[in-house]
């Protein structure tokens, strides 16, 4: 079953581009990553799914419900974590959590207590006194306490220290194993690579790739690091060349035989050829797009 189905979704803010012809499918139970730099259209896509903004054209459904006609039912099934959590002034954390639960007409006290304990969140503090990280934790509890079937997380880890990030992803994985679908936007690639099964890459409002994370990461491109002296001139497919302390490192997507020939002719003390990480691929996707434009 498809938990999120987006078809040709386009949103313009006046003349400014938000997203263009975005199509995307997230199946039930998936841990889905949505990657793109700032301003690429991640938040616009999410805000359209949540009914905060109306699309210029195209349609989408969440949990089998149409975003135009079933907004409240969708919101009832979704837990949303905004990238920047802001709450009403003069409220304590526990009041915010209670308000959120009340607006959902649910008693979430036990779940909230458990989450607050794991995230080490003091619920007696006033929200305006909270650090950015603690505000984020409050928002996390708001998004998770009612045990939604779909979690939509917009840049979820900004502001969290590494220990809390780990705890947070532990919670997400537990929920995911219990059947919760997770849709997470991020520009931090290792985060996506570690946690997501599938991902889509968005750039300047358009989806440029969408596949399993391993497939996205799998290319002919290799990261080559050579210690010693080697002549690389004449080789096609070299990018991102960096030299330091007698080591030359580059991304290679050309013919492997030619590379080996060049290497044989050089004086090599050490060599490593590895798969590039997603971050490198990511910039590769971007450059590829840039070249074709």
């Amino acid at each position: 079953m498809e938990t999120i189905k987006i078809e040709n979704l386009t949103k313009y803010y006046g003349k400014a581009r938000g997203i263009e012809q975005v199509s995307l499918t997230v199946k039930a139970g998936e841990f889905f990553g949505f990657i793109g730099p700032n301003g690429a259209g991640k938040s616009t896509t999410i805000r359209t799914l949540l009914g905060l903004i109306k699309p210029t054209s195209g349609t989408a459904s969440v949990c089998g419900l149409h975003i135009d006609t079933d907004r409240e039912r969708i919101l009832g099934a979704v837990g949303y974590l905004p990238s920047e959590a802001v709450f009403y002034p003069r409220m304590r954390v526990k009041d915010v959590l209670k308000l959120s639960a009340d607006l959902r007409k649910k008693d979430c006290e036990d779940a909230a207590d458990g989450l607050c304990e794991r995230l080490r969140l003091d619920t007696s503090r006033k929200v305006e006194e909270l650090s950015f990280g603690n505000r984020k934790k409050t928002a996390i509890v708001c998004a998770l306490q009612h045990e939604p079937e779909l979690l939509i997380l917009d840049e979820p880890t900004s502001g969290l220290d590494p220990l809390m990030q780990k705890e947070f992803f532990d919670i997400l994985r537990e929920r995911n194993q219990l059947g919760t679908t997770v849709f997470m936007s991020s520009h931090i690639l290792p985060e996506i690579q570690r946690n997501c099964t599938r991902a889509a890459i968005i750039r300047e409002g358009r989806i440029i790739a969408c596949d399993r994370v391993e497939v996205l990461a799998k290319t002919n491109t290799r990261r080559v690091a050579v210690r010693g002296s080697v002549r690389l001139e004449g080789l096609d497919g070299i990018r991102d060349r960096q030299e330091s302390d007698g080591t030359v490192s580059f991304l290679y997507s050309g013919d492997i035989k030619q590379l080996l020939r060049s290497l044989v002719d050089g004086h090599i003390e050490d060599i490593s050829i590895s798969e590039p990480d997603l971050e490198e691929i990511f910039s590769h996707y971007y450059e590829k797009e840039g070249e074709t434009r």
């Binding site: 803010y13 805000r47 949540l50 009914g51 905060l52 903004i53 109306k54 907004r71 409240e72 039912r73 969708i74 919101l75 009832g76 979704v78 949303y80 905004p82 920047e84 959590a85 802001v86 709450f87 009403y88 002034p89 003069r90 308000l99 959120s100 009340d102 607006l103 959902r104 708001c142």
Partner: protein
């Protein structure tokens, strides 16, 4: 109901401050009356001979020497301006504050329809304005009794009712404006309240500008008219009610389809 309770809790400090300030000023005015009354012989002549200034505040048709004449001018101004400010601020901020304060993303991602949100917020505004007026009405009665005067029930009730209607009208018009705003809109609320007040002063001063009384809600709150005629000007009040309803409809229409940033 949750939303109404939440809004009332959020608005309780401004509510207490405005109610206490206006109530305090009303009390001071009423407690000043016995002293004024004893010196009224001379003062009444002074007040009634200041030309258009006298007309502006309706003092050409009212006697400062009677409790109701004094109350409708002095307390009328306090209640009119103070109440108008509070009602306008209450209405103009209630929808826009979510986007301005960036809490819209919290509120509007809960399974509550926009219709319910608008209704809840409107109810909270009307409840706060009504509660303030009830308290002020009661405070006036208590103060009048305290200075040993008979309470002029009919006139007092009519004046308070007129100002209540004014506040509801302003609150509803500003509520409509609030739906269109994304930024801090306090200035607009204050501006509308002040502009309406001054339009009435102008209308009082020259007959050619009398039509303004149909535009400003202060037109049907004129103490001089209410005390001398014993009723509200129904046409002006009806125009006011229509303006208020238009504001509410505009709010539902706009906020129901607005892109929330």
């Amino acid at each position: 109901m949750i939303l109404v309770k939440h809004e009332l809790r959020q608005g309780r400090i401004p509510f207490l401050i405005w109610t206490a300030s206006i109530g305090g000023l009303l009390a001071v005015c009423i407690f000043l009356f016995p002293e004024m009354e004893s010196q009224m012989e001379g003062i009444s002549d002074v007040f009634s001979s200041m030309g258009s200034f006298t007309a502006a505040f309706g003092m050409d048709r009212l006697s400062f020497g009677s409790l109701m004449g004094f109350y409708s001018v002095e307390c009328g101004n306090v209640l009119g301006l103070g109440g108008a400010f509070y009602a306008a601020l209450c209405g103009v901020g209630i929808l826009s504050k979510e986007e301005h304060g960036r809490t819209a993303e919290f509120l509007l991602t809960h399974p509550v329809s926009r219709f319910h949100i608008i209704t809840g917020k409107l109810t909270a505004v009307l409840a706060q304005v009504s509660a303030m007026n009830l308290i002020l009405y009661a405070a006036s009665i208590v103060c009048m009794t305290a200075i040993g005067e008979d309470v002029p029930w009919k006139e007092l009730t009519l004046i308070h009712l007129a100002y209540f209607l004014l506040q509801i009208e302003l609150a509803c018009v500003c509520f409509g404006i609030s739906a269109f705003m994304r930024r801090n809109s306090i200035g607009i609320g204050m501006g509308i309240a002040i502009m309406m007040y001054f339009l009435n002063l102008v209308a009082n001063m020259t007959e050619t500008a009398e039509f303004l009384k149909y535009i400003t809600p202060f037109g049907y709150c004129e103490g001089a008219d209410i005390v001398t005629e014993g009723c509200l000007n129904i046409t002006r009040a009806a125009v006011g009610i229509c303006a208020g309803i238009t504001g509410v409809i505009a709010a539902y229409w706009k906020y129901g389809r607005k892109d929330i940033h």
